[in-house]
Symmetry: C2
Subunit: 139 residues, 2 copies
């Protein structure tokens, strides 16, 4: 298959709370919650870079839609890697996330592969890695 990933949807317990974190806290652009008129349809999309969106959707709605069993939160299922252009920017983004209510699980530090990174968990426990990596060209 030709990969064309257009959306990363993360499961949340409280849509409004997640909206506030991503919109007001991290400053991601969004039209807010849409689809409330449909059962299991309430969702918010955030613009990432061109062609890619982040969506927040209730975990129970993912379970309903994908026909899987709703399971407890698990932080080791995935991480979202956010690349920035300097070490200072790593520090800034982590600070911004913490102010917005994130938990810094792994403060920024030099990595063994020559980069600089740290991790935070959003209010639903989802992990983000904020990373500066000289070897990965920023587009």
């Amino acid at each position: 298959m030709k990969p064309r990933i257009t959306v990363i949807t993360i499961g949340v317990n409280d849509l409004e709370k997640a909206l506030i974190f991503y919109r007001d806290g991290l400053g991601l652009s969004t039209e807010g919650i849409v689809g409330k008129e449909f059962e299991h349809g309430a969702v918010a999309f955030f613009d990432l870079q061109a062609g890619l969106k982040l969506a927040i959707w209730k975990r129970e709605d993912i379970a309903y839609e994908a026909k899987v069993t709703l399971a407890p939160a698990s932080p080791t299922e995935f991480t979202i890697g956010h690349n920035v252009s300097s070490k200072e920017e790593v520090d800034k983004v982590l600070e911004q996330a913490e102010k917005a209510g994130a938990t810094i699980t792994d403060p920024a530090h030099d990595t063994f592969w020559g980069g600089y990174s740290g991790h935070f968990q959003d209010p639903d426990g989802h992990l983000w890695e904020v990373v500066w990596n000289l070897a990965w060209e920023i587009e």
Copy 2:
């Protein structure tokens, strides 16, 4: 922050098995497992569209690196949305995934919002939605 998501890392139990699924089964381009010489470093990257990669990494290594507790698998934490350009392509991708060892939890069907989609779980239980959506321009 200016969003620049470069990698979606998914936690797996068996790196080789996940590699076979994504490389041989789905046909995603990869250099295979790298970083074996580093403790907690073994990982494989797959090329998605420009500027975006999928990574597979052991769940226990995510836990170690991000300093969180290793938790049981949970299918309702996230989904990856893969957009295709026709209903037929949705069917084809789901068929390819199933042959590769995926579980089709939600067979392809017309959606209430005028699209056509289905879901599968990869060997580690991670959900993908394969979707045709006339309203979302394919880039």
